[in-house]
């Protein structure tokens, strides 16, 4: 998904992953993420198999490996959050050091858990990015509703998506206005740009301004939606029933995921 209004999401007519039914993709992606999260700690063989699977789908999707992996960096916050595990899990110590009165000891068990969590988050994010890149959001929302995800959650995701564009537009207008007035005087000796604190203050004011304007604009958009009968439900033509091929893909994918998960559990025991 892209938030540049001029560069819509990369959709194409004849790509196999793009053309799969959104319901299928949603279930398989969710199953994949669930399997990855449930795979036991330190089941490296399974992680590598899951990664190869994600990588193969990325290749098959024809979206561009670089595009997928640049966005997979979204996993970074999860990895950072897992970092303290290195020191909090007790086990065979690797090294220890102290900061003031605080003494920290890293353990092999902690390291294993940290690497496992990092790897698992990274693979899960790759699949989420793939799902988002190869499926149009309206299709995805509709698929979620079809799969009985509560209306409120689907509406929140849908509105968030709608309003991101409004915010981007508002932000672009503000930035353009600021840029237009960022000139240097013809008396060239002056140092231009203003002080750092002044610029920070202007940026802060702009952020506040953006928030107010986006809120007001979203109110207007919401009123317009209400005026046209919006009640939180997405109404579209019914999705056609899944074909035999769809069912085969779905059952095959879930079988592969179950096998991988079982393999992980067996390896670990």
């Amino acid at each position: 998904m892209s938030i540049d209004p001029f560069r819509p999401a990369r959709h194409s007519g004849s790509k196999p992953i793009h053309n799969l039914d959104a319901r299928l993709k949603f279930i398989i992606a969710l199953g994949f993420i669930l399997t990855t999260s449930l795979a036991p700690q330190g089941a490296w063989a399974v992680y590598i198999l899951l990664f190869s699977l994600a990588f193969s789908i990325a290749l098959l999707s024809d979206v561009g490996i670089r595009h997928i992996y640049a966005r997979a960096a979204l996993a970074l916050p999860f990895i950072l959050a897992a970092f303290p595990l290195l020191f909090t899990v007790t086990g065979v110590p690797i090294f220890s050091f102290s900061i003031g009165s605080l003494s920290l000891t890293a353990s092999w068990q902690g390291l294993e858990r940290f690497i496992s969590i990092s790897f698992k988050s990274w693979i899960s994010v790759q699949i989420a990015v793939l799902l988002a890149t190869t499926t149009r959001l309206p299709d995805l929302l509709f698929a979620m509703r079809n799969l009985a995800i509560p209306q409120l959650i689907v509406a929140i995701i849908g509105l968030m998506w709608r309003y991101i564009f409004l915010m981007v537009e508002e932000a672009n207008r503000l930035l353009r206005a600021r840029l237009s007035r960022s000139g240097v005087t013809t008396q060239n000796s002056k140092k231009y740009g203003g002080s750092l604190t002044w610029r920070a203050k202007v940026a802060g004011n702009m952020a506040g301004n953006l928030l107010i304007r986006s809120l007001e604009r979203s109110d207007r958009v919401y009123s317009a939606m209400l005026a046209r009968g919006y009640d939180g439900e997405i109404r579209r033509f019914k999705n056609p029933p899944l074909t035999l091929q769809d069912w085969l893909i779905l059952i095959g994918s879930i079988a592969v995921l179950v096998i991988l998960l079982t393999l992980g559990l067996l390896l670990n025991s």
Binding site: D4, F6, R7, R173, L174, R176, A177, R178, L179, S180, R181, S182, G183, V184, T185, T186, K190, K191, Y192, G193, G194, W198, V202, N205, M206, G208, N209, I212, R213
Partner: protein
């Protein structure tokens, strides 16, 4: 370069990243002090062309503002020469108070506190809004916001004023007072507008655009009499 040349665009072409061609082979020369109207239907390319005057957009072709080639190294200088006033004053005003908004340009230029205050005072005075300095921009009427928007660029002492739809959304009295205000300003003036009555009153030269091209460029009094030309280009004869 002609001595009094303010703007030169030669063979200017521009397309948006989605492939939409917005400007096709635009050739334009404006002299210092000229007052020019840019008219045409929605989507004619007027606003896109306006954004080229200070390099917010940069298409292919030769572009020169007061002898400065429009290129990356020159943009800051050009932006202090060209005051661009956006159609929606809410886009123009991003600071909490009128004073801070009008002071943005001069502070950015690195002027001293006294100079900034002086510039702001002069700018507000020329739009007859001197008493509004400490008001919150957000709570003004559209007519007032429009004047403050003009002050935000006047405070930078620009040589060219570029206005996008200056009279849009104004009530008759605010519109009248804006016309009066614009007629007092000495700068080179370029205004994109649908308000042909304003054009007739204020801007002696008119450029008609349609489909990204300049269709006609001449004296306002002549062009506004050419009913066929106006109708062909989505304009309503007066």
């Amino acid at each position: 370069m002609i001595v009094d040349e303010a703007v030169l665009f030669e063979n200017l072409n521009f397309s948006y990243p989605d492939g939409h061609i917005a400007l096709r082979n635009v050739n334009l020369r404006i002299r210092d002090g000229e007052k020019v109207a840019l008219v045409g239907p929605n989507g004619a390319g007027k606003s896109t062309l306006l954004l080229h005057f200070n390099g917010i957009l940069m298409g292919d072709g030769r572009m020169r503002i007061y002898g400065n080639d429009l290129k990356n190294g020159n943009l800051r200088k050009i932006r202090s020469l060209v005051g661009l006033v956006f159609q929606n004053p809410d886009d123009q005003l991003f600071s909490p108070t009128v004073f801070e908004d009008v002071a943005f340009g001069p502070i950015y230029q690195g002027l001293s506190e006294d100079e900034v205050k002086k510039q702001v005072e002069q700018a507000l005075e020329s739009v007859h809004m001197k008493d509004y300095a400490q008001r919150v921009s957000y709570h003004l009427s559209i007519g007032e916001k429009k004047r403050i928007s003009i002050a935000t660029v006047l405070s930078m002492n620009p040589k060219i004023l570029v206005l996008d739809e200056p009279s849009a959304g104004l009530d008759p009295r605010s519109r009248r007072s804006l016309i009066h205000l614009l007629s007092e300003l000495p700068q080179t003036l370029i205004a994109a507008t649908h308000d042909l009555a304003l054009v007739r009153e204020l801007l002696p030269r008119t450029i008609i655009m349609n489909g990204g091209k300049i269709i006609a460029d001449g004296r306002t009094s002549d062009l506004l009499q050419n009913t066929t030309l106006l109708l062909e280009n989505g304009l309503e004869p007066l």
